[in-house]
């Protein structure tokens, strides 16, 4: 009994302490999603380097840039004297070099939606702010659950989520398949993925496939440069080339803009809510 009590104390107490003395103080994050997580835990003062692709939240632009997935700038990373580098699991070469330089690193992988809150907790534990991380993760889980409950009883439209195509035409349409966080977000938001059966993150959707799958709603994601309203209107009309598709007939083709759809960090909750509002306009 006494041993159990000690165990509980050992497990629980660290969670309520401020960052321990041996927690990393100079963190470099090569992953925009993790950068956003660290900001959301209010630990951004410890971030000394971020990737070239970090655009959010405000304040991130003041932090030094250290390259990206394919081109991490090792010299720059070393010069920042980090005591923790957050890298992609696939950045094997960078990991070897960090090992040689005796710099600890945290290896990140992104998969489905449930992995996002898990990553929040794991990163929090690694940087010694378990409590803040758990609070954030619990909040995200609760909010996602609330969205799931709000759409549970509603009809589930067959939906195609498009995250890329050649502008002005229906060539090279990339849609979300039955795997990955975009797919999971769609399910929580109360939609059925038309490519549910294709267990890939991305499906090359030919015109024939779109006609056959007959989505009732098409949600197209645009990120990067902001779009003018007229451009959005014009790009929606491009879909008129496939008039038998129910989404086109019912004028249920939507273009949602913002990079929160492609950064699997804390803003994924807001992105899922926008999916839900798009799929079920009355819940607004």
């Amino acid at each position: 009994m006494k041993r159990l009590a000690i165990l509980i104390v050992a497990l629980v107490v660290p969670a309520f302490r401020p960052a321990p003395a041996d927690a990393p103080k100079r963190i470099v994050s090569l992953i925009p999603a993790v950068t956003e997580m660290i900001f959301a835990m209010h630990e951004d003062s410890r971030l000394v380097g971020v990737s070239n692709y970090d655009r959010f939240p405000p304040g991130v632009e003041k932090i030094d840039r250290v390259g990206g997935l394919l081109d991490p700038n090792v010299e720059k990373i070393l010069s920042l004297k980090p005591d923790l580098v957050i890298v992609y699991a696939t950045q094997q070469e960078l990991q070897t070099r960090l090992e040689r330089a005796k710099i600890p690193f945290y290896s990140y992988e992104h998969r489905g939606l449930p992995d996002i809150t898990q990553t929040v907790r794991a990163v929090g534990a690694r940087i010694g702010s378990t409590a803040a991380a758990n609070r954030l993760a619990d909040q995200m889980d609760a909010n996602l659950d609330a969205i799931r409950r709000s759409t549970a009883a509603l009809p589930k439209p067959k939906t195609m989520v498009v995250f890329g195509r050649e502008p002005g035409s229906l060539r090279h349409v990339n849609a979300s398949g039955g795997y990955g966080f975009l797919h999971d977000m769609l399910v929580i938001a109360g939609g059925v993925d038309v490519f549910d059966a294709v267990k890939k993150q991305s499906v090359d959707a030919s015109n024939e496939m779109i006609l056959v799958r007959a989505p009732e709603v098409i949600i197209e994601l645009r990120y990067g440069e902001p779009m003018k309203a007229a451009d959005i209107e014009r790009e929606i009309r491009v879909w008129d080339a496939l008039p038998s598709v129910p989404a086109v007939r019912a004028h249920r083709v939507y273009i949602l803009t913002g990079d929160e759809f492609v950064v699997p960090g804390p803003r994924i909750v807001e992105a899922t809510r926008r999916f839900a509002e798009t799929l079920h306009p009355k819940t607004r």
């Binding site: 692709y53 990206g68 997935l69 394919l70 081109d71 995250f163 890329g164 050649e166 502008p167 002005g168 035409s169 229906l170 060539r171 090279h172 990339n174 059966a197 294709v198 890939k200 499906v203 090359d204 030919s206 015109n207 024939e208 496939m209 006609l211 056959v212 007959a214 990120y223 990067g224 440069e225 451009d231 790009e235 080339a241 496939l242 008039p243 038998s244 007939r249 492609v262």
Partner: protein, 333 residues
Amino acid sequence: MIRRRLAIVVAGFGSFLLLVCALAPLAGSTHVSLTRAFDRSIPFADNVDAQIFFIARLPRVIGAALVGAGLATAGVVFQALLRNPLAAPETLGVSYGASVGAMIAITLLPGTSIAGISTVPLAAFAGSLGALAIVYALSRARSRGMSSTVLLLGGVVLTTFLGAIVNFIQYLADFTQTFRTVRWLMGSLDVGSYGPIVAALVPLALAGVGYATLPRTLDLVTLGPDAASARGVDVARAERLALVSASLSTGAAVSLGGPIGFVGIVVPHLVRMMVGTDHRLVLPGAALFGAAFLIACDLGARTAFAPVELPVGIVTAIIGGPVFLWLLLRRVR
């Protein structure tokens, strides 16, 4: 004699092409009811079968035919001009010139269009003509003593150089643009509408007019420029016309389908194997067989791994690579 042989070649390859053309729109990842597709009593907007047939499959088949014919005939002309069996749009750097154009359009002019046509095919067309202008300048130098092997080597260097530029543009682009450019480089015939086909028809028709005048001069040029000029052929002028025609047809093909490999190199060899070296037979044969070959490859791309599709460039490479190696071995024996 030649008329009869031409008639046989056209009839033979033509009926093969017709057969492929008739089969390809019927096959796909889903079954289409032809009676429903052609039933005029159902409004087109409600008729899924008709839309699959007319919007998804027919433009693909037509696009594949044009791209296949364009690449194969350009390959014939390049091989005759350079008197080298390795000459083709992809080995002379022309495909990569088109790629550089497309990359620039995708990454630097995202979402722009001119007269309703996306800037991507327009830039690809311009890029292929640019690369051919360099090849042409090299060929002009050839008349001052540069061999066709050197010209081909120039093409290889140009390909590598333009490949590096493609990499450079991809490196500068953001992740999603890189994804699109990589996909573009694999080639695709899902053209989505008839607009790009009509746009590609203009340069292809011009190339066809050029080709019509070529066979005899090509036959003579194959014998060597000296032999050709001895028989009263203005070699420089004939070469110019041949290069311009082949550029137009390559540019149109690559802008429509992306840099689809091996069609321009394998089809001319296969056709010559079947009909001999007379260009009056090789050119029309390559046009018909190239069209049929690419339609068949695209059919494979659409159906092999249904419901997902393969990029057609992968299919042509998987078929064309081994076929070409086999041709090489055959020549050695």
